[in-house]
Structure formats: structure tokens, C-alpha cells
Amino acid sequence: MTLPTVSDPMVDIPLSQPLVDSPDTRGSNLMEAIRLENVGVCYRAPSERIPSIKEYTIRWLQGKIKHREFWALQEVNLSVMKGETLGLIGNNGAGKSTLLKLIARVLRPTIGRVLVRGNVAPLLEYGAGFHPELTGRENIYLNGALLGYSRKQMEEKFERIVDFAELWDFIDAPLRTYSSGMWARLGFAVATDVQPDILIVDEVLSVGDETFQRKSADRMQEFRNRGATVLLVSHNMNLIEEMCQRAAWLDHGRLRAVGKPDEVILAYRRSQA
């Protein structure tokens, strides 16, 4: 078993080894939920515009198509324990979203290995996949199917979802008549009425009004109490420090530091100055 390492040796803070550092000592299960081994993701874009299929075919046959390679992630090694809440920080374009996509199985790494143990509640923007012409009820079933649930499972969830979203009065009205807040509430209710082993949270806590934010924060806490692993991406450092046991800092596709949130945030901030 390879221990996760941090690829960039130039970081000036003492780095904690994640496996040792993992604060999850409740109970005996020191099980890995997520492991990334030497992961790299490379986007290839043609370096020049090729005007037509004919042209493309000719060049392809000649082997003359040039691609510009862009490594969104490189040599990432990371291990997340079951029940742990890990914060991901870094500038825009650092590769945070790409990393989440790998874990949500949306992308397969170009090189390296991604291991995920358990169900992942995906990074669907709340309400994405809803259709405005369909009623709330119909959308709940459609969205549930999108998340991989059977009709039967959705029937069982239905009441709880509407309860949580507090939308009983409007459940048979088309979604286009909903306010954006109602839309978000329904989306959040569907997406989180699951028992995910791994929850991916991408800046959600900024959605909705204050009451709703509190409600979603509560629900996240609930997940953590139940032993779910949480990956939290945020630019809100207070939130990261408050919620996470560890933080990881991504910079230009490389993992610069993994460790205690305050230390990692400090290092990150210093680099920004």
C-alpha cells in the first residue's frame, strides 16, 4: 500500500501524513473511502482550428493533428478516510472541480487510479435536470431516476422529500411557476434524501435564504454524524476550518499541501500574498 504523498516538496509547512493524521478514531473503522494514486487528467484540445471534416480526415490520415495538452491534474495522491470531512481549497482553475468529477465517476483519469468505496451523492447543481413544464411531483421522480433510484425507492422517498422542501401546496404545479428559492429547495431535498457514503458539496451553502442555508448545513451535519465522508469545496476559509478535519490545497493541478485546515489555509494564504 502506497502512502499518499504530497508531490510538491517546496511547501514550507510540515505536512502531515494523511493516513496518520486522519482524526477519525471514532470506532474501529479506519477504512479508506477514497484513494487517488498518482492521478493525472489531461484535456486535449486541437491546437488549431480545423475547418472541415475533410481537412480533419486528411490530416488525421497523415498523422498531422496537433493537440495542445493541458494537465488539469497531475500526480495527485490522496487518501480520504471513511467519515472524514475534507476541504478542498485553491484558486479557480486549480483542478478542484476536476478532482470532484473523478470521484463522482464523471471523468476517468488519464493516468493513475481512482478508488471509491461507497455510494457517491453527486455534484449535481441543485435543480439541474429539472424540467420547467413538469410538475414538482414529476420532477422528483425524474431527478431520482437521474440519481440512479428505482421507481419503488422514489415512492418511498417521495413524502420525506416534499416534507423537507415544504412544498406540499405546489407539488402538482409545473416548476415554471416556482420561485427560484422553491426550485432550489426542491433540488436540495431530492439530492440529499439519500444515504450517501460520500457526499460532494460544491459551494452549496451559498444557495438560498438564511433559513434554507441553516437547514442544509444541518443536513450536512446529519450526514457526518451518520458516518458519511464529505468532500467540501469552498472559497470560504472559515467554513473549511469549521467543518473539516483536513484540508487539501490544489494549485495548478498539483496537490500542494494536505493537512490540518489551519496550516493548509495559512500556507495557501501566504502564497497569495
Partner: protein, 272 residues
């Protein structure tokens, strides 16, 4: 403890089989998507779902008027046209929809895992449901044109299945190309028009000059349409060789499309 599902990106079986397994796991999504397609299309219209039946009926009335009145012909011609038109509409619509669903559903592809074939399969399922609805106006036209409605029509699920397999195969191939060249969606519209006139939908093969008959024989849709039309228009069960040819075309297209599409599917999220 280790009963949790494990995803390991390095463990790759055969993509085609894996895709099939995942699709079965997501069968509810296929059904829900097809349902949405049908419900949404007519949701705000007054006649609603009746349009699925009125649409082909209208086209048939126009075509049969043009051909039987203007060019002169039997009234049974309307049945000939409509039965062919059902096949054609199904094929044209499902193949284009497969492509569009994948490209415009691409937003979803980047956020959440769903088996990529869901888009094409639900397009085909939607088409099949619409086709069943259009059997109603077909039978109305048969009554008026005095073409007997025979029990042979009970065989129709088989030609319909072959058509669906063929359309799914073509849809998957087109989708794969469209991911790399979006222009294909536009080109295909033109291609469809040409293909329509190369298929015996509004004319009969024997109306063609002898010299051109071979062109029709190269057209897979010719065999599939004939197989579908025989139990309706001719009131006969197609012979074994007709089933075999159509079945072989359908199966091989589906297998090629499925394997190719699934082998490229991992790449889609990078491209869309």
C-alpha cells in the same frame, strides 16, 4: 463491512458489456426520460397527446391526396404511404434525437454519472411509444381505404423491434461522431431528406426505372420498411428470408454502434 460498492477506475472490463450492465441498473431513468419526452411535448397544447395521432394522419392525408388525386392511384395507396411513413418517422426522429439528447444533455454528463447510452435508448423508447400511438390513425385510414385489418398485424412487434435496433445502432454511431464534429447534426438533416427519397416510403419499388432499382437494394431501410409494411398493407406474414435479412441488418448495426459508442464513451465528458 465491505459490502459497499467499489469503483476502481483501473479495473476495466469490456466497455460494451459494462455499459449494458449500467444501463440495466438505470432502467428507471430510461423510462422516466421517455415519459418526460412525451409529456413535455404536448403539455401546453389543448389536444395534448392526440397530436401523436393527428400528426401522421395529416401528413398521410396530404400525401395520399397529392398522389391519388393528382397523379391518379388507388385509395389503398394511403395505407401504403402511412405504414411506410410510420417507419420513416420513427427512424428519422429517434436517430436525430439520440444525437441531440447526448449533445444538449452534455451539461449533465459533466456533473453526474449516468450511462451514456441512456440518451439514445430513451430516444428510441420514446419513438416506439409514439409509434404505438400512430397505429390508431393507421387503422382509421385502413378502414376508410377498405384495406382489411388482418390478424397478421399481430406480428408487428418483431419488425418494430428490428427497426428499433437499427435506429439505436445508427443513433449511437451518429452520436459518437457528433461529439467530435457537431456539424454532423446539420449534415444529417440533409442526409435524411436524401435517404427519405431513396426509401420506398411514398413510392413503390416497381415504380422506379429498372436501372435504378439496385440503389434501393443497397438501402437497409428498404428491407426494414418492407418487413413492417407486409403485415399491414399486404396482409401477409413475411417469409423467413425477409425476417433474416432485416434481423441481420438490425443486429449488426446495433452491435457495431454499441461497441463503438461504449469504447469512446469515457472520452465524452472530456469533449462535451
Amino acid at each position: 463491512m465491505d459490502s459497499l460498492p467499489v469503483y476502481d477506475s483501473s479495473r476495466r472490463g469490456m466497455p460494451a458489456l459494462e455499459e449494458l450492465r449500467e444501463l440495466l441498473r438505470y432502467s428507471n431513468l430510461v423510462i422516466q426520460t421517455a415519459r418526460r419526452n412525451i409529456v413535455v411535448r404536448y403539455k401546453r397544447s389543448i389536444l395534448g397527446i392526440a397530436w401523436t395521432m393527428l400528426n401522421p394522419l395529416g401528413t398521410t392525408l396530404i400525401l395520399s391526396f397529392v398522389f391519388s388525386r393528382v397523379f391518379g392511384g388507388a385509395s389503398s395507396y394511403a395505407v401504403y404511404v402511412l405504414s411506410g411513413l410510420l417507419c420513416w418517422t420513427f427512424f428519422a426522429q429517434t436517430t436525430s434525437d439520440s444525437m441531440h439528447n447526448l449533445i444538449w444533455g452534455g451539461n449533465l454528463l459533466k456533473r453526474i454519472y449516468v450511462p451514456r447510452t441512456v440518451f439514445a435508448v430513451s430516444a428510441v423508447l420514446t419513438g416506439l411509444i409514439n409509434m404505438v400511438f400512430s397505429l390508431v390513425p393507421l387503422m382509421v385510414v385502413m378502414l376508410f381505404a377498405r384495406v382489411p385489418i388482418r390478424l397478421t398485424m399481430l406480428i408487428l412487434p418483431i419488425p418494430a423491434l428490428f427497426l428499433a435496433m437499427f435506429a439505436l445502432g445508427v443513433g449511437l454511431i451518429l452520436s459518437t461522431i457528433a461529439i467530435y464534429f457537431i456539424d454532423v447534426t446539420e449534415m444529417y438533416t440533409i442526409l435524411l431528406t436524401a435517404w427519405f427519397y431513396l426509401s420506398p416510403v411514398i413510392y413503390r419499388k416497381d415504380m422506379l426505372p429498372q436501372d435504378y432499382a439496385w440503389v434501393v437494394h443497397l438501402n437497409p431501410m428498404y428491407y426494414l420498411i418492407n418487413l413492417f409494411r407486409a403485415p399491414i398493407y399486404d396482409g401477409r406474414i413475411p417469409v423467413l428470408s425477409e425476417f433474416l435479412v432485416a434481423g441481420a441488418i438490425a443486429l449488426s448495426t446495433l452491435v457495431v454502434g454499441w461497441i463503438w459508442f461504449s469504447s469512446r464513451a469515457d472520452d465524452f465528458a472530456y469533449r462535451v
